[in-house]
Amino acid sequence: MVFVLFGLSIIVFYLTRGLLPPNTALAPYITPRMDDAAKLSLAKGLGVATSACQSFEDFSMGKSYCITPLWNQYLSWLLTVLSGNWGYTLLPGISGSQTTWDVFAGRFPFTAELAIAASILTIAIGIPLGIISATHNNKLPDHLSRIVSLGGYSIPQFWFAVMLQLIFVIYVNVNGQGLLPANGALATSCAICIPNPGTISTFTGLPVIDSLLSGNISYFWDSLIALILPSLTLAITSIGALTRIVRSSMMEVLRQDYILLARSKGIKERVVIYRHALRNAILPAITVSGLIIAFLLGGAVIIEIIFSWPGVGQASLSAAYVLDINFLELYVLVTALIIVVANLVVDIIYAKIDPRIRY
């Protein structure tokens, strides 16, 4: 687990530092008032420039005597970053100098909210659909479910998003207003995004939950509605994937001898399916849920851009364009951390359900 994060940090570091001019590493830490001498000492302080380096110009030109070896840079970067110093954000359109960490932390709850909502949709739709499909093998519900799931799995998310916007803005509208909002969560236009500052207090950072906890029902309702289209779009692919997995593992389990025995006992078919089959069939679905979380977090980038959702994904594209590498590194590592932790949780749940693993 630590190994994964460590290995990943090397890859990301190489990609962002090894391939880009040394200046980019410095950029997040430079303040407007710095002169070249200050910049040079900053570079030395960050372990990018050698102590032998004479002028900032040489450093910027990438003169070899000025640049420390890459592994050295990596170690000092690791130290800097682990001490919590992620520098200032380079994202455009942000007033004042906000730190990368603050921007990330302010935006992250929106992404989390989206991913959580999509996970809930995936599970709530994917699993029942898979079961129905398996228990009605090669009958009408199976064919319908196959079309829905494979369709969901095949549909371009960006296109689905645009189509939803088109439908709800143009074709389905009430009093000239779209039925569902086509854009954005209910956040003030943001660098550090805060859901309507002042109207609700912050507990978890997730607007939907915070508004509920604050007792602001109308805000809760609005933010829930704003969540519908983006989370549905984000979930559509994983719903398809999960449905297929549940279907095939359910069909496999239904062919097992112990299902025949359960049926031979004369207990109700409902009990056979939900107690005897589902518990076994769900195991492969749990195994892939780690992958699904990775997929949802990654897919959030595109959805957030299309729906102007104020999460980290949306910011990541601008961050890439302005080479705000600290933001990107932070994003990749936090996401990877979530995925690794999710996989750990998956293992624990797996062992809970399958007694053979426990021993």
């Binding site: 112990y258 025949l260 049926r263 031979s264 006992k265 004369g266 207990i267 005897h276 076994n280």
Partner: protein, 369 residues
């Protein structure tokens, strides 16, 4: 048909299968698995159903229990359980029949027990599924047990009260069901049944799993127990234990047992009567002694001759020539005729009926009329 007109005492027949024909649909064509099965089971007897793999003996059992796979199609026949035709019954009625009248025990209990549910729960869920139906048997069993054991005088009073009221909460019944399951585990001689109750199948040995599966069948107090190759996957010493258990249980419970096996030695050891199957037909039925001392059908003769005995050394082992026919295109007439040393013209044209060649000895072969 002949079997129903025989010199059989009708009142003692619990289960009767007549003219059961069924096909399996496969991509290669329809497999004619059963070709008019005639069978009856008397009260309290152990009937051996013998035949080689693929002869349809397991399918017959599955048909009786209403557990045929989806690609099976029943063409004709009746399965009468105490006069009620199961083939004409509704799905729900057949399920109820499985719940209380027909119990099935399978071979290789590793794959037949649910790996993620504790053994005991797999037993108690049966009685818990129908409180009304099982209230009386459960409490009677528990009363019975508490009278033999020292424990639980207070329990006894409570049980009697519940029995009198005929009414119990779901929670309360859950507790009773657990006790009942433990008593069933004890009945099949599992050591330390309280502990086994909460164990998972993978923690038990093959013999213990087989016992647990028998306990599941007993829990229902069935009228018919279909035991499908229950000792095939076991070692000889464990097989001996299970066969002994089966014989003991037969005296204790009020059930008829159909023992499906390919092993004639097992049949000789425990059965009262034997039905021999070949390629989807019953070819011979008689008392176990008669079958072994005076087999009539050429297939039965061949089968008996090809048994390798631990007490006899032969120079050359005998076997039946040829191999089992493909049931997509079974031979016309008697399905055994291509392998039969006594076959004559009529055998390849006409199908012989099961006739009573001697009293209570039925055979389907033209050699006997």
């Amino acid at each position: 048909m002949s079997l129903t007109q025989g010199s059989e005492d009708r009142n003692r027949v619990v289960l009767r299968v007549s003219n059961l024909k069924l096909n399996f649909h496969t991509y290669g064509g329809d497999v004619k698995v059963l070709d008019g099965i005639e069978l009856y089971v008397r009260k309290g007897e152990i009937l051996g159903l013998v035949g080689e793999s693929g002869c349809g003996k397991s399918v017959t059992a599955l048909a009786i229990a209403g557990l045929l796979p989806q690609n099976a199609e029943i063409l004709s026949g009746e399965i009468l359980l105490e006069g009620k035709n199961l083939l004409a019954a509704k799905k729900e009625e057949i399920r109820k029949a499985r719940l209380s009248e027909i119990a099935m025990v399978f071979q290789d209990p590793m794959t037949y027990l649910n790996p993620v549910i504790p053994i005991g729960k797999q037993i108690s869920e049966i009685v818990e599924s129908d409180r009304q139906l099982f209230l009386k048997p459960v409490i009677e069993e528990l009363l019975n047990e508490s009278s033999t054991s020292r424990a639980g005088y207070v329990e006894r009073k409570k049980l009697e009260r519940i029995l009198k009221d005929g009414n119990v909460s779901k929670r309360e019944f859950g507790k009773l069901a657990k006790l009942y399951a433990i008593s069933m585990l004890r009945k099949v001689r599992l050591p330390d049944p309280e502990r086994v109750y909460s164990m998972y199948p993978f923690e038990l040995s093959g013999g213990m799993r087989q016992r647990a599966m028998i306990a599941m069948a007993l829990a229902r107090k069935p009228k018919i127990l279909l035991a499908d190759e229950i000792t095939t996957a076991l070692d000889v010493t464990v097989q001996a234990q299970i066969l002994k258990l089966l014989r003991e249980l037969k005296d204790q419970i009020d059930a008829s047992i159909v023992l499906i096996t390919h092993d004639l030695a097992v049949v000789a050891e425990v059965c009262d009567r034997v039905a021999v199957m070949y390629a989807g037909n019953i070819v011979e039925v008689a008392d176990v002694e008669r079958i072994f001392s005076n087999p009539l059908h050429p297939y039965t003769k061949g089968l008996l001759e090809s048994i390798i005995r631990p007490d006899v050394v032969k120079d050359e082992l005998k076997s039946i020539r040829g191999s089992v026919p493909n049931l997509i295109n079974p031979p016309p007439g008697c399905r055994f005729h291509p392998r039969c040393p006594f076959a004559f013209g009529r055998c390849s044209i006409e199908k012989p009926n099961l006739i009573e060649a001697e009293p209570n000895h039925y055979v389907s072969c033209f050699l006997y009329g």
